[in-house]
Symmetry: C2
């Protein structure tokens, strides 16, 4: 065993509807190793618990860290969680209701487990180690399968009276004739500007005969279209992808402006896979749209920034939660 059993390590897990990411961090929050696994929610809660435990064990093995050296495991879950009891109240993508996830995972790992909301975890990472480090009031927007939001108000994270705030992906921006969203409504920001919405639009256009390098980049398998492929196509100047991503940026800018008009934060901080892969091209366009739609007085002082953490915000935030919980 390379590391002594002084419980200086933590593991952060980002549990999504599609994949499980686990990463091991040392006492200075340096990432030592990471592992990835498909989630397979169809296996049910016990199946996903088993796969999460395996993913953590594999990451620990890759980092050559023994179980007794781990202070805690933090898991970010896309849903409403009760961090105190480790119970996942509702997680629609995983089809869970009132699942004692923390208990189930710590029984498998023999390590204390902290369960947090995934966006809350990401926001914590941005606040402690990312672009929000020196800010007292900021708003995060994480763009992925959906669009999630985190708010830091007067130096503290805020999720509303019932802990269910930050659902900025379901802000209606296109009330009249917007596309249908997974939530059942029309014109939600998520339905026009999430990575999944972008992929859906690209695939539909290709099916209708539009040309795009995406077809070759994904070897004809639409399921393979992720942020990296979209970014590559964009950088190669692919007309279809540029059209659709530019359009998404305009809407992300409108969503950003709405947040600025309502909350007037010091900064809106963007994160998630697509921003990591293509932030340098997307941010200028998002800023332009946001500033156009912001009340003049507020626009001057609000920064629109990249989180600086890329796709690691989720695992890092979960690891920070594990450390806070273990104390």
């Amino acid at each position: 065993m390379k590391h002594a059993a002084d419980r200086q390590f933590v593991v952060g897990v980002d549990l999504g509807g599609t994949k499980i990411l686990a990463a091991v961090f040392d006492s200075r929050n340096k990432l030592l190793a990471r592992e990835k696994k498909t989630t397979r929610p169809e296996l049910g809660a016990n199946g996903v618990l088993d796969r999460t435990a395996e993913c953590v064990n594999e990451a620990l093995a890759a980092a050559a860290v023994s179980h007794p050296a781990v202070a805690g495991v933090g898991v970010g879950v896309p849903g409403i969680v009760d961090t105190h009891s480790g119970v996942v109240r509702v997680a629609p993508n995983l089809h869970w209701k009132n699942l004692p996830f923390g208990k189930g995972l710590s029984k498998r790992l023999h390590i204390p487990v902290a369960v947090v909301n995934d966006v809350e975890a990401g926001t914590m990472a941005v606040q402690q180690l990312g672009a929000g480090r020196r800010l007292r009031d900021f708003t995060c927007m994480f763009i992925g399968t959906g669009i999630g939001g985190g708010m830091v108000i007067r130096g503290e994270q805020y999720r509303g009276a019932g802990g269910m705030g930050g659902e900025i992906g379901h802000m209606v921006v296109m009330a009249h004739d917007g596309p249908k969203c997974g939530c059942g409504n029309h014109g939600c920001l998520e339905a026009v500007a999430s990575r999944s919405a972008i992929v859906r639009r690209v695939v539909t256009a290709m099916e209708k005969g539009r040309k795009s390098v995406v077809r070759e980049l994904c070897d004809g398998d639409a399921k393979r279209i992720r942020s990296r492929i979209l970014a590559e196509a964009y950088r190669e100047g692919d007309k279809l992808v540029r059209e659709i991503i530019d359009d998404a940026c305009d809407y992300i800018g409108i969503g950003t402006a709405n947040l600025i008009n309502i909350l007037n934060p010091q900064a809106v901080i963007l994160g998630g896979g697509l921003i990591e892969a293509l932030g340098d091209r997307m941010l200028p366009r998002i800023r332009k749209s946001a500033w156009t739609h912001t009340i003049a007085a507020s626009a001057e002082r609000v920064n629109i920034l990249d989180s600086g953490l890329g796709d690691d915000a989720g695992v890092l935030g979960a690891a920070l939660a594990a450390r806070a919980f273990a104390k």
Copy 2:
């Protein structure tokens, strides 16, 4: 003189772009008298200062309260103000920039003057004496010429890092083909659902030949169309007015849902002249639209309420600010 000079009274002023309202309150915040005057911003800052002082004096005379018995005058201004110095930084409707309003008014009245943002004043009234009394986290929406918003977060009013938040009227809800807003953008909530937007739509439809009782109720003078006339036409079953107000309610509901999805407050509290005059008919429709557009988990627990203060929220809040400032 009826009342002794023990400085137990305060005056609240709601200074709008169209009218000045002043009301005198006793030590238990009971309204003793109120006066109204047109603002006439075209007279310039000194002209408006004179008219504000006159309006305060008339209200004091009506209440039979002498100047020495007044602890302070609070003025709610539609703009960005520095309450500490009494300077109005920007007030677009009044065409003011960096105006030492507090100093100008207290020189005219020989009474201490507190200057606050009008929406901030209204929210303070809702928090201390209205539907927000027992709530720790709520959001206010005041519907009038524009649509303004106030947020109370963890028991304290919040206007963002730069004090310029709460501009919920400029939340874009109709990005694609929304009507033009006074701010220059398209599809702002204010451009589709404020009282002015409603009046504009009614007038345009009548000009195009649509029939409506509004024509008689305003004696053919469109400038006379205010909340009361709209409410009367609605109650009489006027088809055009019902169509337009119902449509506005749907959009107010969408704006309310956006606030709930983002902030997850205990309640969204609606105020302003139109809600006072027609809240019993508008609120059920606003609630229906809001709940349709809210993420299920949040909708259950959030109340959508009338402020309970009618059109007095503004003067009452300004009076409360005067009292706080005088201490």
